[in-house]
């Protein structure tokens, strides 16, 4: 290991020459400020060498000065970057100071520890920084100008080309920092305060042999003495600090100078390669090739391309942009891929061996022992063993963001820096997760049965001895809570806890009739409670039947109750005068299933038949909505199951001449009414009246009470239209739209209405939309269904290897009698196998093309067909 390090050092000293260094670090007779760029490998390498070469007496580092106690943890061999110093106040803001393997600050700390040089942080304490919200994005004009003038696409690219390759020129770097400072608006008051603090801390140490490691921006101020000591900030209330693992993806997401790094893994490679960009590029491309399965030859080409690109761009070596471009062109066929990001940004999370929190230790030790992923990306796992489940539940109950319970034993796990931050915050509540979870559970104060039920479940899952307490709370609330939904939810939560469940369920049954008398605002809650309770116990059905008959209940809810039990006694509410709401509840309870239950349909049918006109008009929209969800396929199936109607009846009815026959039609098609019920019913009601003369009807049309059916009965669209337009009456208008719905030739009339005044125009527009959509949909659907169904047949008919299979498929296609397949059959008629050709000729005949039959004069079927028989 040591040898290895020696060798690395040799290699580094060969590569990293220090021409500017000796002039820069004249001697350590005064304190020397070493300007760095955060996370820069070139900075880190040069700094490391400076420390080794010149052995300063002490090193002062830009870092939170209240974090000195964490230095041992940072330099510990068991700490694997990326890590971060996390600073927080309980229930307050937090701040993060990330470190990469190539962060100069960390490199300096580790070199100091290795050489026995004392090192400490000298930036303002994190406690003070916490009170200053994040610094605003500084103006980037200077950077933009530099990029434009030097021909780089981004500032990062410029930085890499100017400073990362070869030796970093510290003098140039400082000059550059001075340029930045000179830009107006670049230096904030907070910067000035920090610089004052830095200067004061530096002054506290003897100047001789002091090396100050500091971001170039501040270093320039310190070098030039451009500091106003009076600006140093006042101390703030202390904050908590700890070293926590960090992750590469997060480092690349963070923005701003020093906070982030666009490709942490790549720049760590540069550091590991002693600043040799070429080796870092090759290493990255090799890893990428492994990830994408590219060959060695391609990888070599990619490495070459990266080098050529660098020279085309006038750079000393291939950097991140060259690696990305070369990978895309050579390894990924010009596409972008996550693999590039994974190889340059990196995926890993860091590790911290020494933490100051037993809770964090427990978390990391337990996850490792149980094989749970601690990664900064979501992963789903199924947990079957009790120990893991208990642990995850404890972490969840302690409100540490890590595991999300998806289903009974399915978890989604994701570690994030926030996980460790939360764990550290919990430390004050206990030394183990069991303890913390217990504290959390005991602190809950359930106010409703539902909350208490969750508490019982969590207490049972976390297994920390608070179950009796939770059960007691739940029992108390099951008596005190008067909210039906809360009780139902609680019963649902606790369906595995027999005793509590029966207690909650019994009380819910008791409360249900009262809850059904709720005002309209409470209806949704009661609805969902009803559904839950019905799911939980069959004994609830009886209660629901009672509610359906209860005259004091909310009409919607009693309809809902009847619907839930699929009751057929709809007449119950006729007298109550709130028919529409009752029926609305009835329909809502059954949702789309209403069209599938013959008993329910029959009941609705009889009930609708018995309704008075005004009531019927009230429920008409509800009816239509109730049956809108029934699928066309279902309607077709029922239609087929019914004895064939009288020839021509359909068209007669469609053309509107058969009003008298509508009843017969409806009778015969009773089952098909699933969809049509709402549509035909007004006609049926109308036709039940004695026939009247045209004159009588016209008069009725102007009477709002009679207009609806009078218009319907008029039958003549022009006649009705002229009346509707003269009266401009909403009832007559509605009736007219109904009439139009029955008549396919009424598009023009509907359009005229749709252009007219509301509310009739809306109705007309709906009817129009329904019509065109229905037609288009039905057409498209039928076509697609046929195609899909027969795709396999077509394929078999044309390409099956066995001739018998082809012949069979051809015959099946013929049986569809669908001209859609004529082309396929024509191709089959040229099949290389005679049997298939013959079958195809017959099949073609059944889709209307007799031309190929003549080729088979001897075939008995062909003869029959040609003689005029059916195929």
């Amino acid at each position: 290991m040591n040898q290895e390090r020696e060798r690395t050092k040799d290699r580094k000293s060969e590569r990293t020459e220090v021409p500017s260094l000796s002039s820069f670090v004249l001697s350590f007779s005064r304190s020397v400020v070493f300007p760095i760029r955060h996370h820069s490998p070139a900075s880190a390498l040069l700094l490391e060498r400076t420390i080794e070469e010149f052995r300063p007496r002490r090193i002062l580092i830009e870092g939170p000065s209240d974090g000195d106690g964490l230095i041992p943890a940072l330099v510990d061999a068991g700490t694997v970057p990326p890590v971060a110093i996390l600073a927080w106040r309980p229930d307050g803001p937090n701040a993060i100071y990330p470190f990469l393997r190539c962060s100069p600050e960390l490199v300096a700390l580790r070199a100091a520890a290795r050489l026995g040089i004392p090192a400490r942080f000298i930036d303002i304490p994190a406690s003070v920084a916490l009170d200053h919200p994040g610094r605003e994005a500084a103006s980037a004009d200077l950077e933009a100008e530099i990029c434009a003038r030097m021909g780089f696409d981004s500032y990062e690219e410029f930085w890499e080309a100017a400073f990362e390759s070869g030796t970093m020129d510290l003098g140039l770097f400082l000059e550059y920092a001075r340029l930045m400072r000179a830009e107006p608006g670049r230096t904030t008051a907070f910067d000035r305060a920090r610089e004052a603090f830095l200067a004061r801390e530096i002054a506290r140490e003897p100047a001789e042999g002091t090396l100050v490691v500091c971001g170039a921006f501040h270093a320039a101020a310190l070098e030039d003495g451009d500091v106003d000591l009076s600006l140093a900030p006042a101390p703030a209330a202390p904050a908590e600090l700890a070293v926590v693992p960090y992750s590469y993806p997060r480092l690349s997401e963070a923005s701003g100078y020093g906070a982030g790094n666009r490709a942490p893994r790549f720049y760590e490679r540069v550091y590991e390669a002693g600043g040799d960009l070429r080796r870092a590029a090759h290493g990255t491309l090799l890893e990428l090739a492994k990830r994408t399965g590219a060959s060695l030859a391609e990888t070599i080409d990619a490495c070459r391309l990266a080098g050529t690109l660098a020279s085309v761009r006038g750079k000393p070596g291939p950097g991140l942009d060259e690696v990305r471009s070369a990978a895309r062109a050579c390894l990924l066929e010009g596409r972008d891929s996550d693999a590039v990001r994974d190889a340059t940004v990196g995926l890993d999370t860091g590790r911290v061996r020494i933490s100051r929190s037993p809770l964090a230790d427990e978390f990391h030790a337990t996850t490792r022992r149980l094989g749970l992923p601690v990664e900064d990306r979501a992963k789903e796992v199924t947990v079957l063993d009790r120990e893991t489940a208990v642990f995850l539940h404890r972490v969840r109950v302690a409100e540490v963001p890590y595991g999300t319970l998806l289903q009974r034993n399915r978890w989604r796990l994701r570690w994030a820096p926030a996980t460790d931050a939360a764990i550290l915050r919990r430390t004050e509540l206990g030394a183990t997760f069991a303890e913390v979870a217990r504290r959390y559970l005991l602190a809950r104060d359930p106010r409703s049965a539902a909350e208490a039920a969750v508490l019982v479940r969590d207490a049972a899952a976390a297994d920390v001895g608070v179950l009796p307490h939770a059960v007691a709370a739940c029992e108390r609330l099951s008596r005190e809570d008067g909210d039906l939904r809360s009780l139902a939810t609680a019963a649902h939560e606790l369906r595995d806890f027999e005793d509590l469940f029966s207690r909650l369920f019994a009380r819910a049954l008791l409360l249900a009739p009262q809850a059904a008398r709720a005002a309209d605002a409470g209806v949704p809650a009661v609805e969902s409670a009803f559904r839950t309770l019905l799911e939980l116990g069959g004994s609830f059905r009886e209660t629901l039947r009672q509610i359906a008959r209860d005259p004091a209940a909310n009409p919607w809810l009693s309809g809902f109750a009847l619907g839930l039990v699929r009751g057929t006694d709809l007449a119950v509410r006729l007298s109550a005068g709130e028919t529409a709401r009752f029926f609305g509840g009835y329909v809502a309870a059954q949702r789309s299933t209403i069209g599938r239950d013959a008993a329910v349909l029959g009941a609705v049918d009889r009930w609708v038949d018995s309704l008075e006109t005004p009531r019927f008009l009230e429920i008409l929209p509800l009816l239509r909505r109730a049956f809108s969800g029934v699928k066309a396929a279902e309607v077709l199936r029922t239609l087929r199951a019914i004895p064939a109607p009288r020839e021509g009846l359909e068209s007669e009815i469609a053309s509107g001449t058969g009003v008298a026959d509508a009843r017969a039609f409806a009778g015969r098609f009773r089952a098909a009414e699933r969809e049509e019920l709402a549509r035909w019913t007004p006609l049926r009601v109308a036709s039940a009246r004695p026939a009247r003369t045209l004159e009588e009807l016209r008069n009725d049309c102007f009477d709002p009470a009679k207009a609806f059916f009078a218009v319907l009965e008029l039958r003549s669209i022009p006649e009705a239209l002229s009346i509707v337009e003269t009266t401009a009456d909403a009832v007559a208008g509605r009736a007219f739209v109904e009439l139009c719905r029955l008549r396919p030739d009424s598009d023009g009339a509907l359009r005229r209405l749709a252009a007219g005044p509301p509310p009739v125009c809306h109705l007309a527009a709906d009817a129009l939309a329904e019509r065109s959509d229905a037609l288009r949909l039905a057409h498209a659907r039928a076509k697609a269904a046929r195609r899909e169904l027969h795709d396999d047949l077509v394929r078999t008919a044309l390409w099956a290897r066995r001739a018998s299979a082809r012949a069979e498929a051809v015959a099946a296609l013929g049986r569809t009698r669908d001209p859609l397949f004529a082309d396929v059959l024509r191709r089959a008629a040229d099949d290389r196998d005679a049997a298939v050709r013959r079958e195809a000729a017959v099949a073609l005949a059944s889709v209307g093309d007799l031309s190929r039959l003549e080729e088979w004069p001897a075939d008995s079927r062909a003869r029959t067909i040609l003689r005029g028989g059916a195929p």
Binding site: D301, L305, T308, L309, V312, R328, L332, G334
Partner: protein, 346 residues
């Protein structure tokens, strides 16, 4: 002005000469210009003389293309129709080899002869196989002289013919068994192929062949100003080439470019490219120059637009009508165009 269309090197002779005279950077063997001078030629520059950009787009893409040609991999430009693949390849060849005329148009009828060599059968019968009877393909000539050869629409070529490329690209050598010799490629030889993502896809290329190419994907221009700049510059060139004097007002260019971008983004994902847009405007310019006022009016533009859209996808005509009815209501240029479009699109 004898030919309809000049080659890139003829058109840009002055620029190339200036770049050559001032080029001090090292050149890859066989190249007439250094990679940096080639980049300047393609992307435009102020030094040493003003050089017009030939391609608008990501600088990094062009650099990858140039760097690829300097390596021993071949270059494949992939993109939607009208993303200036051919234009880029023509100018790259002109700058690197000094000539862009070595080109094979890939079609379903392209045979191996077009990629290697064939025979002058009269001579072959009269004198037997000999150098004189050899008919050299553009690829052959490029290998012989160390120049760039272009393969347009390589994915339209039948896979078995494409396979002939593999040996040329990997061995850089063509065997001529009839003459008992082979032709090794001179330094500077390389291949630029283009492939269209809309027609038969790149997937049609065998993986062995794909491995010999570096891929550069050219994106569709999404920025209005950028596309307008491209359109106006190309239009200027076309007008000079065909001696069309009509003026194309900026407002018309803006309106049509917006329409094209909207159609591309829209539901039908139109395939109308920048090249189509230039075609529409140029046609409008001809109409205005020959039959109109000498200034492209909204009517001229709308009429040629209707033709182009109807050719691609008649469904889009309806969308187009809806779009012009709703877009950019206030501006006078839009109002004028809307009225013209109503007349042209019904």
């Amino acid at each position: 002005m004898g030919t309809i269309r000049q080659t890139a090197e003829e058109r840009c002779a002055a620029e190339l000469a200036a770049l050559l005279a001032h080029d001090t950077d090292p050149r890859p063997p066989g190249w007439r210009l250094s990679p940096r001078a080639v980049e300047r030629f393609i992307l435009g520059s102020d030094t040493p003389v003003p050089i017009a950009p030939k391609f608008v787009g990501d600088r990094a893409l062009v650099q990858v293309a140039i760097a690829t040609l300097a390596s021993d991999r071949a270059l494949l430009l992939v993109g939607e129709p009208g993303t200036a693949k051919s234009r880029l390849s023509e100018h790259l060849a002109a700058a690197i080899s000094g000539s862009s005329e070595l080109v094979v148009q890939g079609t379903a009828g392209t045979t191996e002869d077009h990629l290697k060599y064939s025979w002058n059968y009269a001579l072959l019968l009269a004198q037997g196989p000999g150098e004189a009877a050899l008919v050299k393909s553009p690829v052959y000539r490029a290998m012989e002289s160390g120049r760039i050869v272009r393969l347009e629409e390589v994915t339209r070529v039948l896979p078995e013919v494409q396979d002939a490329l593999i040996s040329i690209l990997s061995e850089k050598c063509v065997a001529i068994p009839e003459l008992n010799r082979s032709l090794p490629a001179a330094r500077g030889f390389n291949v630029i192929a283009t492939a269209n993502t809309r027609d038969r896809g790149v997937n049609e290329m065998s993986s062995a062949l794909r491995r010999r190419f570096n891929f550069v994907r050219l994106p569709v221009l999404e920025d209005l100003e950028t596309e307008m700049a491209v359109v106006e510059r190309r239009l200027g060139e076309l007008k000079t080439e065909y001696d069309v004097r009509a003026e194309v007002p900026r407002d018309v260019v803006r309106v049509l470019t917006t329409v094209f971008q909207e159609l591309r983004r829209g539901r039908t994902k139109s395939v109308l490219s920048t090249a189509d847009l230039i075609g529409v405007l140029f046609q409008g310019a001809i109409l205005a120059g020959q039959f109109g006022s000498g200034r492209v009016s909204a009517d001229d533009a709308a009429r040629s637009l209707a033709g182009a859209v109807a050719r691609e996808n008649p469904e889009e005509l309806r969308l187009l009508r809806d779009f012009v009815e709703t877009a950019g209501k206030a501006e006078p240029a839009w109002r004028e165009f809307r009225e013209a479009a109503r007349r042209a699109l019904t």
